[in-house]
Symmetry: C2
Subunit: 701 residues, 2 copies
């Protein structure tokens, strides 16, 4: 068995030699050579950068960038680009806002938006932008609270301590957000403190057709030609917020080989997972996700053929589903590739060997990898159970999400802080009304599609005789039950939600709303399943990961960056193209290339505004560029910054080879993709005539 | 490296012990213990059956069963159950016929069909039923023709010899079909000679709701409650054909433990593939197929919500897509399971070790496994190329399929027989008119959906700048191009097709039909891609497989059955349930169970005919049963036969565990699922009052 174990996770033995050669790129310590790493601001390897690129970021430089970088709570990055609260992000990060402000008559997504005056800047419902103001290590406090505990006791203690620290940090001030962030899978706990902006207004967005030029076909590809930008502004007391920390605009942009930084919030990577966890992803969970996304994509694509209103109300969903689909297919292909997987096996083997050499480490942590492997055997059944019978599968229905929150709020609020579900803790409660009373429209036809799919999947998984399935379907088919539920809810009305929230448990108990009744009827079971999953999967995973993290720490310290956690990180790299089976691909495209690629075929139809402006544009202006920065989903909207700390671009994507980046960084092929700062100015000036904004970012009064 | 190779193909090392234990079931030689095997009629292991079950099928018994068993050319099995040409098969095997005979006004699929008199029996357009009349070994002839050849020369010689043998066997008589069948992946070549029935009429079909009771949710599950039967009749000169070989009806049916046989045409298995080929399926091709099927399924599901006519015209497609989806997901899960995969690795290792012990064998064939592994590296690019740029992806469009045949027919017919594409050989030509002038309706809206999806996938794969993509899209989006093509074709008219076929090359060249023009414009490239694939993938695969087959032959002879090839096979087994994570599942369900499972929720809504008949039915009558017979897709419609050669059931499915059966047979869990002969008689008598048919199968005049 021992001999077998060394290669048990490698697929296709015939490709072993290639895997071995490539493994060098992914091996431990490669970060020093390659532009790898999503570094926290408090452990940025300035010296490494200095040695490689001749520029060593100072603490002041880092502080300035950190304070100018932003996070959009929905899952994107952004930055301040003027002292008056002007925020730059991607079009696809603001599309939710454009959708909310659109109607069947005015389609802002299709037509774009520009507030000619400040008065025309329009509030984005439900938007939240966070500015990181401080990081503090709370590892000792968190570990002390859970020391020696396992199972339910660990869950409870972890939750109590988490709630306590967050409350100490932010109190109940809704303008402050504090998150306990677990880095290195529990090796380090930090508290991240943010200024929280909830009055966010739309300033500018181009037409969808040029923002997402090439659509899903070109997504994750380079060469690329997207004007994927949106401008927002944060307000304070109904006035533009004063934002003294902001990024200035580079006068000349960048050129091939230039050192560039990306400050943003990479959502999640899985580079510290054990081989057993990765094999589980590869063999069990990712294949299921691909199939579900593909089917949902088909449902939406066909729904869109019904007409422009159907298209408008689901474009946003379809965009994200297509995006996720490509990401997950890319992840699966990466894990199914023996080259990458072999390198991850080698990396783990190397770490385990180093641990084994130190008897104290080996004794304390050496068994963790096998424990993690054993835990994966439990997961197939429990992941499915959690997915369905915790009700998580139904959260794709906005109505159900609201109903479940309304049903649980009075019950949870009656408990002591420490015993509540985390989303009802004292620290979280102030924000509940924002979520519950979010005026983003809910479209019944889209709910019908999503709910039918969700209920159909539930029945496929457990069959019609399962008691939970029977409770959910109430004797109806999935489509009929969805129709019944939607026809018998008042939760589309914000007033109705407010009355139920204010009325507490008696109002909930008396409600004959279909979704409230459904959420109530499954509340006990969904809570029990959630608890079981936390006790048997999430927390053991966390505890074993923590042990592995400690072992890794003992060997590497903070010389290695932690997995991404949708918190602020800084990556360094250079402007560079790449060479793959399509040939040598240079780092820049041009505005002329955009016009050359345009046609009458969707998604390559340029909006009239660009066609009209063609003669006034310099076609040699750089349009998009590729860089070696190590980024991942969540980095969308991040500023691309030069050594002066000035904006030279706006990250909006990675190339197709970056999709394996979830598991490891390949310096040869992995590239981030950005909109060039010069194209931004050219577009704002000549296409959109947005002079007040161009002057604002240029610092011209 | 050498040590690594032993376990290189095993996934998840932590499950190795289980894999090793289970491997016993899949190992070489297990056929003697388990009820494994899809045996050809000329090498049936009668003695093994005799030793295990106390009944040794005689040559006369085998001849009788062989002559009574049938194949439906579309991909199903069937049998004669009366001397007057009455044919029993599954409802889902005849659903194409019901669809063709349906209109928006009369939906035969939904309402069922019963010809009260023989006059009402209605012709099924495009149906063909084949009765095997002889098997002859032509291995020497085939191997001599290709001896020493490789690449294009091999392809040509193989094709010439194939055409020659088929023509010698059947001439140009359309009532005779002769196929050269390659068994053991080229280890044996046989010529299979069939009586070909082309006048096939629908006699009886129940309502879809009871035939497919439980729909996709219950598909591949047991316990099961489906009345999945259809009755057809073959005609000769406009009269019911005389069919002296037919299966008689069992008086008492079967009971648990009884020996039972399945005579049918399993479509394809992959039990002789090398580990490298299986890894390719697991890591590359099956994941892609799952994603494509899932998306197409979503498209169709949403299309069906538009109304009953949309449902009617796509129910058939959706049924097969859902079925394929479940099959492929099941195959992928099987291969992703380290237990099964580990056993397949062990099986190959054992065979290779036996070969290595014999220096002559090792010298001649020992390198074949590594050659096959090397070939898989080529496949990813070439499989995709073949899928798209041979035009294969467009064959989902009926219009395109017809157009391509019309374009190629005059060109091919002008060549000597041996140089033609196989589908235009002298042996195949007589059947071309049946395909070209098939009156099955083509629905433009369904074509629009299928074509858009196909063109969209092409563009996703190669991008908008690819020359072939540009040729296919002609500057339009996939949806627009599909619409353009469909709006500008006359191929929906059979007369138009006949004129083009009769007119030959001049008519084709002069045609302004959109699909004809498209098929012409890509003809050169699609032919070149097809040839490249044959030369670089198909034929090398065949040649290496042949080498492996010869090595296996030298060791095992015909003591082992060949992979399924959609030719007639016989399997033996017994009536038995199984035990899995759901508990102990008995072999029989009852008609009472059907009523208990029924509800008002689709797909569990019983038709009125069954609700009305409930009081006259004996609810204890066995409904469905499970047996240990080793079957696979293509066996649908096979008779389940007892030792007397009498019908005790009708195979229509396998259980969920049978989906791994593509790669190996698991005697513990793998079960076939059949409709009990007693339920058939009960339903025909009490629900459908089909007395003339009940009398006919009972032999009562």
């Amino acid at each position: 068995m021992a001999k077998g174990e060394l290669c048990a996770e490698t697929k296709r033995g015939n490709m072993k030699i290639a895997a071995f050669a490539m493994a060098l790129f992914f091996a431990l310590g490669s970060a020093a050579v390659a532009d790898e790493g999503m570094w926290t601001f408090d452990h940025f390897p300035s010296k490494t950068v200095g040695a490689k690129y001749g520029f060593t970021p100072s603490q002041a430089w880092l502080n300035h960038v950190r304070a100018s970088a932003l996070r959009i709570a929905g899952g994107c990055s952004a930055s301040f680009i003027s002292p008056g609260g002007l925020v730059m992000t991607n079009h696809h990060c603001a599309v939710d806002c454009e959708n909310s402000l659109s109607t069947a008559q005015t389609n802002l997504v299709q037509n774009g938006f520009y507030a000619k005056t400040q008065d025309e800047e329009t509030k984005c419902p439900g938007f939240e932008i966070d500015q990181l103001t401080g990081i503090q290590d709370v590892t000792k406090q968190m570990l002390a609270a859970t020391k020696g505990l396992t199972g339910a006791a660990f869950t409870a203690a972890n939750r109590v301590e988490n709630a306590k620290i967050q409350k100490q940090c932010g109190g109940t001030n809704p303008a402050i957000r504090c998150d306990v962030v677990s880095l290195y899978h529990g090796g380090v706990y930090d508290i991240y403190k943010y200024n929280r902006f909830r009055d966010v207004r739309l300033v500018f967005a181009p037409e969808f057709a040029v923002a997402q030029f090439g659509g899903d076909v070109d997504n994750f590809n380079f060469p690329r030609f997207d004007f994927d930008i949106a401008l927002l502004r944060v307000y304070d007391n109904n006035k533009p917020a004063a934002t003294p920390s902001y990024l200035r605009w580079s006068k000349n942009g960048s050129k091939a080989g230039d050192l560039v930084f990306v400050a943003g919030n990479p959502g999640s990577t899985q580079r510290e997972l054990t081989v057993a966890q990765l094999a589980y992803l590869r063999d069990v969970s990712l294949p299921k996700e691909v199939a579900q996304l593909a089917e949902l994509r088909g449902l939406l694509e066909e729904y869109q053929t019904l007409g422009p209103e159907q298209k408008r109300t689901t474009n946003d969903s379809l965009f994200f589903i297509e995006n996720d689909y490509k990401v997950i297919v890319g992840q699966l292909q990466a894990l199914d590739d023996p080259t990458l997987f072999g390198s991850l096996v080698a990396k783990e083997r190397k770490l385990r060997a180093l641990v084994a050499k130190q008897p104290a480490l080996q004794k304390q942590y050496g068994g963790a990898w096998n424990q993690m492997a054993a835990l994966q055997k439990l997961r197939e059944r429990l992941d499915t159970l959690e997915g369905y019978k915790s009700g998580a599968f139904l959260r794709s229905s906005s109505y159900f999400g609201i109903a479940q929150t309304l049903v649980r709020a009075p019950v949870e609020k009656a408990k002591p802080n420490a015993q509540r579900l985390p989303e009802f803790s004292d620290a979280a409660l102030p924000f509940l009304p924002y979520e519950l009373f979010d005026p983003t429209p809910i479209y019944p036809a889209v709910e019908q599609l999503d709910l039918t799919f969700a209920l159909d999947n539930l029945r496929r998984e457990y069959g019609p005789a399962d008691p939970f399935v029977q409770l959910m379907l109430q004797g109806r088919s999935p489509a009929d039950q969805a129709q019944y539920l939607i026809a018998n809810t008042q939760l589309g009305s914000i007033d109705a939600r407010k009355k139920l929230y204010a009325g507490g448990e008696p109002a909930i108990a008396a409600s004959n709303d279909s979704f409230i009744q459904l959420a109530r009827s499954i509340d006990a079971e969904t809570r029990a399943v959630r608890k079981q999953y936390e006790d048997q999967v999430s927390n053991p995973t966390r505890q074993i990961s923590e042990a592995i993290a400690k072992a890794r720490f003992a060997i590497e310290g903070t010389s290695v960056y932690p997995d991404a956690t949708f918190t602020l990180r800084l990556s360094y790299g250079k402007v560079a193209g790449f060479t793959d089976s399509h040939g040598v691909i240079g780092p820049f495209t041009t505005i002329g290339g955009l016009f050359a690629r345009a046609s009458n075929a969707d998604p390559y139809v340029l909006p009239q505004s660009w066609l009209d402006a063609k003669s006034s544009l310099d076609l040699q202006t750089p349009m998009n560029l590729s860089t070696t920065n190590d980024i991942i989903g969540g980095n969308s909207g991040s500023p691309l910054i030069d050594r002066n700390g000035d904006v030279v671009g706006l990250i909006f994507d990675g190339n197709i080879h970056s999709l394996g980046g979830d598991f490891g960084y390949d310096p040869v092929l992995n590239r981030s993709v950005a909109l060039d700062s010069r194209a931004i100015v050219a577009g704002l000036t000549h296409v959109y005539h947005a002079d007040r904004i161009v002057n604002e970012i240029a610092g011209t009064p």
